[in-house]
């Protein structure tokens, strides 16, 4: 069960309508290293974690990724909501517009739809936590590429916040991996 806070985890603002930047940032909504993939990966993997601390970390971080998905959605929508059809065509977002108008949909930057094969749920806690640590690094690097692509300082500010959260999450998954190894050593499970 979740409790919803009717506010964003991080306040966002965009300087101006910018469908080109929206087309790039939407990959963190529905792309392979985006926030939907992150939240579903962690919230699904938690069932087969062997210790309560690992279940709790996956629940906490999976929940925060849902909040990040909402921040990314707000960024994308605010960048396109006032765009004219001419601006959308000029930015190359017209193919997206043809199917979705200005609605949010789970696609990567090139328009490919989200698929479950972006994530894995292996049942092996060591394998799953390695995937999670890799996922945090991939998301961090995506945010760095987006920061390089951004020409809007207000958007860059939100991207910086989201990037730093990936760094913190990597640390927490690493600590969780240590706990799982300790548990395995104590059980002599191989």
């Amino acid at each position: 069960m979740w409790i919803y806070e009717k506010k964003l985890e991080y306040p966002i603002r965009v300087s101006y309508t910018n469908p080109r930047l929206a087309k790039e940032i939407i990959t963190q909504y529905g792309g392979p290293d985006g926030e939907l993939a992150a939240s579903l990966r962690y919230l699904t993997q938690r069932y087969t974690m062997p210790i309560p601390q690992a279940k709790a970390v996956l629940t906490d971080i999976g929940t925060e990724e849902l909040a990040h998905m909402e921040v990314v959605a707000a960024l994308v929508y605010n960048l396109i909501k006032n765009a004219t059809v001419e601006e959308i065509k000029a930015a190359g977002l017209d193919d997206y517009y043809a199917d979705h108008d200005k609605a949010l949909y789970f696609v990567n930057a090139a328009g490919a739809p989200w698929v479950a094969s972006y994530i894995q749920s292996k049942g092996d806690p060591v394998a799953d936590l390695h995937e999670d640590m890799a996922a945090e690094q991939k998301a961090r690097s995506t945010y760095e590429y987006l920061i390089r692509l951004s020409d809007d300082p207000d958007v860059t500010d939100a991207l910086r916040f989201l990037r730093e959260r990936e760094v913190v999450h990597f640390q927490r998954f690493g600590e969780t991996l240590n706990l799982v190894h300790e548990w395995m050593d104590s059980k002599k499970v191989f």
């Binding site: 916040f161 730093e164 600590e175």
Partner: protein, 65 residues
């Protein structure tokens, strides 16, 4: 089959301390556990994305890891 004794090449023993302690086992990934120390206040933590100075990594375009 009985285990054979592995060969020990000369002059290849690891430096003192390298295999001891926390990073003790091969074929494992390790992240050093964070020790709770000083923290920033909530407002500064929100702006930076963490309340922990030791986890704060800035990024500027053009930087490479």
């Amino acid at each position: 089959m009985a285990d054979t004794k592995p060969n020990t090449p000369n002059n290849t023993s690891p430096p003192e301390g390298e295999t001891a302690g926390y990073f003790g086992e091969l074929a494992r990934a390790y992240v050093p556990p964070q020790r709770y120390s000083q923290v920033w206040g909530p407002a500064e933590g929100l702006m930076k994305g963490t309340i922990f100075p030791e986890l704060y990594r800035t990024y500027e375009p053009g930087m490479r890891p």
